[in-house]
Symmetry: D3
Subunit: 242 residues, 6 copies
């Protein structure tokens, strides 16, 4: 096997840092870094729920993902200036929201809403997986805040577990973990996997960018992903324990 550009082993994560309370105003906030990828995750807690959920007794958790125009190598136009949100942005926002809701017991949350804003300050591959991983920690902080304030009254913890995410892919015929941009563009197969702290799947999204992949490749990628998310789960727990 040819070495990876940054010298990592195939099953090795980039350096991951999770900095809590990066913002003063938000009820939870995290600056998460996967190598050079840097995402600011802010959790905003508000009492009340969207209209379609009123009277249900259940809370709501949603997410919005966006990239700063110069987070990437070449500047992109702002979606606010273009006047519409692109398909990729929509897709990732929805993925983050679903992933977080998978570990929230909305009945315990009461009729409250938490919005997770995940803004990519710098992009080098894996922005959606970093966003999910960081947003979970911001979400946990916002829930602690609300329980501390007595706004969320349920004695039972609304979080049913933790969740993190990682990208895996086949590059030059070799399955690898946590792809930076240079590997991402070269990957034949690209998969994002969202996994709970106890190792079960929340989302599996695999795409053949080049040749279609067979069952064996799929299995190898899932193995890598489960390894990576186990490490991320430990890092999340450690960050929350600080």
């Amino acid at each position: 096997m040819t070495e990876r550009a940054d010298g990592r082993a195939a099953d090795e994560l980039r350096p991951v840092t999770i900095t809590r309370n990066w913002l003063d105003h938000a009820e939870g906030s995290v600056l998460v870094e996967f190598g050079r990828t840097r995402v600011l995750c802010a959790a905003s807690f508000t009492e009340g729920v969207p209209r379609w959920r009123k009277g249900s007794g259940q809370g709501w958790v949603t997410a919005e993902y966006a990239m700063l125009p110069r987070s990437t190598n070449t500047r992109s136009d702002r979606e606010s200036v273009k006047g519409k949100i692109g398909g990729r942005t929509h897709e990732i926002s929805r993925l983050i929201g679903r992933s977080l809701r998978a570990v929230v017991d909305t009945a315990q949350l009461g009729e409250n809403t938490i919005v997770l804003d995940c803004d990519v300050l710098q992009a080098d591959g894996g922005t959606r997986t970093a966003a999910i991983t960081g947003a979970y920690v911001a979400l946990a902080d916002a829930i602690s805040w609300a329980r501390g304030k007595g706004i969320v009254k349920a004695s039972k913890q609304p979080l049913t577990g933790s969740v993190s995410a990682i990208s895996v892919g086949v590059v030059g015929g070799v399955p690898v973990l946590d792809l930076p941009y240079v590997e991402d563009v070269a990957a034949e197969t690209d998969m994002n996997v969202v996994v709970t702290g106890d190792g079960r799947f929340v989302e599996v999204q695999g795409t053949a960018e080049g040749a279609p992949f067979d069952r064996a490749e799929l299995d190898a990628l899932l193995d890598l992903a489960l390894g990576g998310t186990a490490t991320l789960a430990a890092l999340q727990a450690e960050a929350l324990a600080r």
Copy 2:
């Protein structure tokens, strides 16, 4: 196991029909039906490619998915009236495009563009998988048309294989194939799988709607999907042979 609402076996497809040449103008067109789900797929061939692809010598295949307002049980507002396309529509359009490109050798296509319009006339679950399955046949017809006219000049067939798609899910604890709407809303896990005619994966998109799923469930769902898409591949070949 409790019986399915429509009496099918767990690994049984709904009745599938593929009607070619449903439209007079389009270079390829198919009305595809998966049970009561009915999608009109029109392939529009145009010479030339989008600006960013000019001079590459390569063609382009893309797709747009939409639902008629009353395709569903309750009328939805038109996205043209709302002035913006929703995230779900974006997501599915992108999925169909990627799935078809996985079996197209764009170099053999030359600098030509084929747009696949997949409009859902009636929805009863599985609209995106029916769309992919039908759009492949419309695409094949459009390519034949262009080769017949001599517009696509390459002697080599631009299609490198066939592609179809099916939904699978866990309903009431049981993995089942090809979910209609009533099963779809009840599913704990929902997966759409896109597979080539020779049984390799193009896309795997699994989502835990309720509890996260484990590796064994994932494997059972993939087995079902491979069985279903093998049948669909045969039906596509049969339709194209008529």
Copy 3:
């Protein structure tokens, strides 16, 4: 007089078919065909009325017209993708709504709303007139449905009559009925006429595409239109009697 492209007499309609219940979900639905023009009309019944009509005791009937991107010979961009509805679409939607309201006694309808979605699956001239003609039948079915369910309680039929529409025009100096696309683009004068079952006018919209027209031409066109709509009214009655 030179013969018409499809061999019809000047005062002859194209073959017209009206297929009821083409959809499973809608309260009324019709696939209407005027030759190769094919329009799907779906009537959606909902209890309640728009805000500005609340408390009036009166119902509301409105329509939305749209063309599928490949209904025409050359693909058009989707209005949902462009983010705005074009003037022609607006104009025709408003025309269909006004035409149907001309035969509805909204007081008998009670505070209920019926939306008629008229989606052109294939276009070969006369899409707006086919839409009005088909939408009337779908509307009649939706009203029957609501009366059968007891949702519309008035003992008096909310429909005060029937309505249909046809295009007429002067082509090569000769007034002709029901223009397909090839005649439409060649017409010097183009007129759409909406007429009730008892032969009175609801809308008369004539436009000089080439030279302005005089009173005699106008009279000849109106004669043709009244003949055509009388036939359409009979076909509508027949379809509803089946």
Copy 4:
């Protein structure tokens, strides 16, 4: 017959004034008044034509209609603020453009474009007919300007005639000419008629607002309209002769 609110005879126009050169910058400009209805028509001449017309040797004439927010009795929201143009605005803009093109020989215009902006400063019924009537005069001035400057080089006058428009309607069972707002809202039938200076029809747009109308009513309305537009044509000629 009951008297009209403003004491006019059934076949009498409101006081009409046509003030040329109301603006300093525009190549042609007219403030046209039909009673209290007041429309500012500005003709903007630019060399060149839209892309789809390039190389045709033919010019283009188009129009945009809009109402100031407080032109009406109750303030309306600006379409610029709403971010989209309403159906009525679209419809009227298209009508004005078609009406003017009916009297322009675009080949004589050369590849030049004239845009007619018709902004309603005050509305009291008949804004579209006043706009067409005034815009014709502004158009004539802009063409004279361009011929004087030698920008339009053809020796033949690009205007093939004049055009004006008037509304007619049935109010309280009586056909009347040039309806102000109070009559407009009460009319059973409402028709806008666009007529050339030599008395031929360019557009006939009649709508039954209440009961459908019969052939006799239609004929009576057309008679009134031809009388009104003959007077308007004389007023236009007089204004242009000043």
Copy 5:
């Protein structure tokens, strides 16, 4: 010093005219002219306030500024057609609203809203200052109307003073008052100053178009502006006394 293009002294206003009641429908309306600049200001009074102000007991005054497409030398596209409002339009609308609110005691107004529409019919520099100056008079008329009708019940006048505005700039090294377009484009420094009837500042907006300006230049410009607005205040009072 070189003479000004129109022969005015450096501290001389263009001819200013303020025509009240230019519209029949609006509760207050003014056509204001600063030389060739011509702005139509309409005040629309409505009972009630925006949602965020409900229950406050306080009224609201706001403004919308816009230019007709051919108010300028070269036609501009309509913002309604472009589907969005430009930065300059936004900026000026906000400036007019703030300027007027500076002289309104919203508590005396009660929960009522006055919208000032300032539409530029012809532009020759100074459109925003003319708009503020004219809008004040329209506002005063609308408030008188509402007090006369007893809709505004407070015995105390809601207007705490008058407000007007003027542009000043450095052209060819010389500070001058009330710049027409030709001076505006040539100005090194451009300042808009909004001043109350008793000579205090509401807004000072100075911009170096060419070289930055020093304190002495700033002082000279402020002197000119205070002179100009004193004259405008007198003209406003005179107009309101008529």
Copy 6:
């Protein structure tokens, strides 16, 4: 005088930090902090200029300002989601662009464009002044980069000086420098002043939020602003020297 909330003297700045090269991709990037206000300024250099400037031999510098949704105490909706940019955003983007262009000799820049993206990560008053102050440093770095690469070829430095900005206001009757959010909302008068490194004005934007202000107050505020910007100019020079 009552003490300021954070204990500063009336003429004292908050702690200011300027961190260069905060991003890896951008040609210049700065994280600037004025107390808790934190703005990320990224300079993107691209060869070529907008169409309207082509062939002029001159470059272009522009800016886009935006706030992250949770930069503020209460979450705001994203402008990309709302589909339009608000007036305040437009206004500030334009202000930043003008301020920077005041110190750029675009002829020396050649036909190149620099876009300054100023994204507010956290807001506590003075975001626009921090943005201008930080953007200048990012701009200087981008120009150095381009000169180093030989893309900007002119031997003369395109920067003609430096520029910084500060807010001043009257709070509780006392003129103060650099207002945080709590002072900003309480200010009677609010002024943003943009000043070059040699102490001349680029922009003066003063607004009476409460009572109008007189000449003496204006003078006191300008004095404060000149003191503050002199300090900022020194901090900018120091940062660039590191």
